[in-house]
Amino acid sequence: MATKLEQTTGTGTSLRDDICIMVGGQGGDGSLTVVNLLGRVFRSIGLNVYDARNVLSRIRGGHADGIIRASVRDIFSTGDQIDLLVAFDEEAVQAGISELASNATIIFDSSKGELSEKYRKAGFTIFSAPLGNMAALSLRKNIFKNTIAFAVLGRVLGIDDTLLRDVLRARYEHRGKEALEANMKALQIGHEFANQSIKEGPYRLRHGSNDGKILATGNEATAFGFLVGGGRFFVGYPITPATDIMEWLAPRLPKFGGVVKQAEDELAVINMGIGAAYSGARVMVATSGPGQSLMTEGVGHAGQAEIPLVVVECQRVGPSTGEPTKNEQSDVNHVVYASHGEFPRVVVTPGNAAECFYMTADALNLAEKYQLPVFILLDQALCQNSQCIDPFDIGAVRVDRGKLLTETDLAKMETYKRYLITENGVSPRSIPSQEGGQCQVTGNEHNEFGLVSVDKMNRLRMMTKRMKKVEMARAELPRGVNFGKADAKFGIIGFGSTYGAVVESMEQLSKRGVSTRFHQIRTIYPLLEDDLNAFADPLERIFVVENNYQGQLALMIRGVLRRNERIDSITKFDGASFKPKEITGAILTAAQSKRNEV
């Protein structure tokens, strides 16, 4: 067994203010741990990071990798290419090869043999060593190869050894002495080997100044936003990529007098949620596509019975069980249109972790003020990729419970009508235990008292009352954010995690002489038509960017935009997020060809 670190094609050191690293192997090889450690290292030197995972829907085995990008600038995508690949097997190289930069560096675990010739492209710098064997030999466990790799990575990136040690210690400190010591030893082994071969690492990283930033995934931010927004009752059923929300809340919510329940299925989830919301708690449920499908009847019930409820839908690749761990935005139609009959609903779409926090807190207000279900539509990339953002401004959050009555209010009333017809469609709400607020609540059509009614006039008034609430809410729904040049002729519309890639693509386009303007939609239902038209009116062409097959948002926008022949769709539905260059390419191509009528 050879245990030397082999280097091919050295290239000298390059100073980077932006770098993207992929760490891959079999599920269980610990690739994601390396990514996590790197994240801590990069943040310690003031860089922003953004990471993404590419795992299978299985627990061990099968290819799995993590990608982490670090930059002196704000970043919300993994960028266009991978600069540095750590591969614990050849499959990982195969998985990454198409995305490697032409001058990429590969750290290859040669325990099962050297890297095939076909992957050794000119321009690559390859460090090859039997990392797994080294770990097995010195530490008796193959798994420590990931810490060895981490050590090597440090040298390749020109990171100070002390920093690596600190970071490693911080991670393993609480996991028992044995684990800590073994890992520290692995680090040392890695460093020793690196000493033999790497004189000067191929990279140096420019340090940044991001010390104040925090690191959060969309799921964590959503969970925290819920708590700060006064959410106290969370009920869920495990499903990727939504489970993290439940798991973040589980140890924390009870400390605030709240509860996290795991129900027997999503039918129970939504109906328990309805019960708790009716009872007066602030409630959120979270799921992904398959669970959302099971909640279909329930959300209509909440709409009809006028129950305030927040539903987080963490999209993944569909339909059916689809690809549980992959990214897609194909449930737009489903949350906008699902459930029989017509009822008021709101669907908001944060684009990064910061927005997840604020918009979740606010979704609770919207739900209570308008007494309707509010969907927060996320996507796997937004849910699970960590990103650096400014610390959440807790003081900026507001708790507004809308027309929630007190017993004093009720005492003043002659008669209490739960579904009183009012100007803006919202009826003052009592909750059980309040004297004088006794009433009936039902998903059948009902009169103002909540008693079942099929009277035609009543039906007309009740439908109008309920549907009106969406119109009334419009003014305070999260408005789209505009980016880019006011005089641009090309527009981009998108939502959710595509935000990061779009913003970078705009820079690329600008360098190619194409100036663009971007409208990041944050309320996808109802579409804020005035804002959209105001954005779109001056534009010659509009590209709707979304991670799905049909161009679901594009089709919705076609229904509300003036001169909708200007609209083009840019879609991607292979389970991966957009790369900035893909959007750039699509727009450049379209810009060159003549306007095509979609």
Partner: protein
């Protein structure tokens, strides 16, 4: 239910939608009496109805009433109770609602032991949709080929059940008594008060006569010990095989309630101060997790 506030001020309960003679009238009458005897305040009572003829019972009481979806009354009721455990929460629906489409939630409620009452109006049929066989339908009823579901046996099979009873709409005094026991059980935070009521559908499955004959009343048996789960199972099974039906308080035992297990706050969630200022310092602490 004799209401503690002027009834018309809140809402005039409509008259029941049931066919004359429907067993559900008896259930309603007993429930009213039980609530009134126990002096439970209407403002603190929530009736959760299912979908079915039976599932309209909440309309005829002057408490808080919520009509859930078909089969979903139990999760709805559990949500209500968790958010405010001070409430008296009574879920009441049909056997189709509870044992067909809702049986999954029934099983999990038996398991979780929430301190609510669940009244199932068992009539062997789907009344509201016009007489199709429900899970309790006997073989031969409207083409039914499956052996009937016996909820008492199944409830006994769940190790954490704490209160299992069966009444008969035609026996008001026993029924009222069982309802009171079930309510007291739940309101003492002892867990799930499951009460099946034989409540004949006179229109599609008039079983008054048969049931009167088939009933075997454990309450009337001297020395019957409702604390012995295995015995209850064996006695009730035996009755099933004789085509008879066990009634009375069949089993009562102890297990931690869902509320005891899950809640740790004095103030019910529904009534807590969730405003921002009160909590800022503690939220700020959590921000550290993101550093």
């Amino acid at each position: 239910m004799k209401c503690d506030i002027a009834m018309t001020r809140v809402v005039s309960p409509i008259s029941p939608i049931w066919c004359p003679g429907c067993g559900d009238f008896g259930v309603l009458a007993s429930l009213k009496k039980a609530l009134s005897d126990l002096q439970i305040r209407s403002k603190d009572t929530v009736i959760v109805g299912g979908i079915g003829c039976s599932g309209s019972i909440h309309n005829d009481l002057e408490c808080y009433g919520i009509h859930s979806l078909h089969g979903r009354l139990l999760p709805t009721a559990v949500g209500i109770k968790l958010a405010n455990p001070r409430l008296t929460v009574i879920a009441a629906g049909g056997d189709g609602d509870g044992y067909a489409i809702g049986v999954g939630h029934f099983m999990h409620s038996l398991k979780r032991n929430p301190s609510i009452v669940y009244i199932v109006m068992q009539n062997g049929t789907y009344g509201l949709t016009k007489g199709q066989p429900s899970p309790t339908a006997v073989v031969g009823y409207e083409g039914n080929v499956d052996m009937p579901f016996d909820a008492v046996l199944t409830a006994l099979s769940i190790p954490s059940t704490t209160f299992i009873a069966r009444g008969f709409s035609g026996n008001q005094s026993q029924l009222t008594d069982l309802m009171k026991k079930a309510i007291l059980h739940a309101n003492s935070n002892l867990g799930f008060g499951f009460l099946e009521v034989l409540s004949p559908c006179v229109t599609y499955n008039d079983t008054y006569k048969e049931w009167r004959e088939e009933i075997y009343d454990f309450d009337a048996e001297k020395g019957y010990d409702p604390k012995n789960r295995v015995l209850a199972f064996s006695r009730a099974s035996e009755l099933v095989s004789q085509k008879r039906i066990a009634t009375g308080l069949i089993y009562t035992g102890t297990a931690k309630s869902l509320e005891t297990n899950s809640l740790n706050s004095e103030v019910p969630m529904a009534l807590q101060d969730i405003s921002l200022p009160a909590n800022i310092p503690r939220y700020e602490e959590l921000l550290r997790d993101f550093r």
